[in-house]
């Protein structure tokens, strides 16, 4: 599991994950992700476009992130293209908890508007 971080000007932070958000992936990335994505005090766009697998531990990380961002009154959206990952997150009910956009353009437009 790898992570890249980019700022959308001063308006928001975009964090892209790639690889597998499974037991090993979450172990490897969670602390680094929290520091980059939550603690910096900006709205967050989480790009899961290059994530090939998410398990319930990955879902737990997303829920924890969403709660932390809401506590800080900061917007949080995700880019999740159509495919098995999006299907899994829908089965897990995440689509009703966290905005999920099928294209990165829609996700960026939304986070920059908020």
């Amino acid at each position: 599991m790898d992570m890249t971080v980019a700022d959308l000007g001063e308006a928001a932070r975009e964090v892209a994950l790639s690889g597998r958000l499974d037991m090993a992936g979450v172990d490897r990335i969670e602390a680094k992700f929290n520091a980059a994505a939550i603690s910096n005090g900006q709205p967050l766009l989480l790009d899961l476009g290059s994530v090939e697998f998410v398990s319930s531990l990955g879902v737990r990380m997303l829920i924890t992130t969403a709660k932390a961002m809401r506590q800080r009154a900061l917007p949080f959206v995700t880019h999740v293209p159509a495919g098995p990952v999006r299907e899994m997150l829908t089965v897990a009910g995440i689509d009703s908890l966290i905005p999920m956009f099928e294209t990165l353009e829609e996700a960026r437009a939304t986070i920059l508007r908020r």
Partner: protein, 142 residues
């Protein structure tokens, strides 16, 4: 290892992330040799069921030994899981309701929901000190 007498084909699933990953890779290498091999969505389902089962068996059931085998049934495949944890029949468990909002959302508890969704059928039996779970997954070829 003690337990029910089994034919070759069992894959030991380690309790930690490394052990789980090693088992996943071995399991996937079995899938690609099936006839026909399962589609991408079916492979995802298999990997997900493996991780959710292994996590539940060791974390909640206290299992020290977890094994899995994949069997080819043509248009579907069967995962057989065997563990020495506390007696537990997931096919009879009440599934948690999905949260309607972030306030209700708990970080855990989804494993059974996911397994029930991705299995086209499943069955359970207890053999002595062992749980045995059969999970059927459609191959979704094409």
């Amino acid at each position: 290892m003690n337990g029910p007498a089994e034919p070759d084909g069992w894959i030991d699933v380690g309790a930690d992330a490394e052990g789980l990953e090693a088992a996943r890779l071995r399991l996937v290498s079995r899938l690609v040799h099936m006839d026909p091999p399962p589609g991408r969505s079916a492979v995802y389902a298999v990997e997900l069921v493996l991780e959710e089962f292994a996590a539940n068996a060791s974390r909640h059931g206290g299992a020290r030994s977890v094994r899995v085998m994949a069997l080819d049934h043509g248009s579907s495949l069967e995962l057989q899981f065997c563990d020495d944890g506390a007696e537990f029949d997931p096919t009879s468990a009440t599934l948690p309701t999905l949260p309607s909002g972030l306030d209700e959302a708990q970080p855990g508890g989804l494993g059974l929901v996911l397994m029930a969704h991705y299995a086209s059928a499943w069955s359970y039996e207890r053999e002595g000190a062992w749980n045995r779970l059969h999970v059927f997954v459609d191959k979704q070829v094409g």
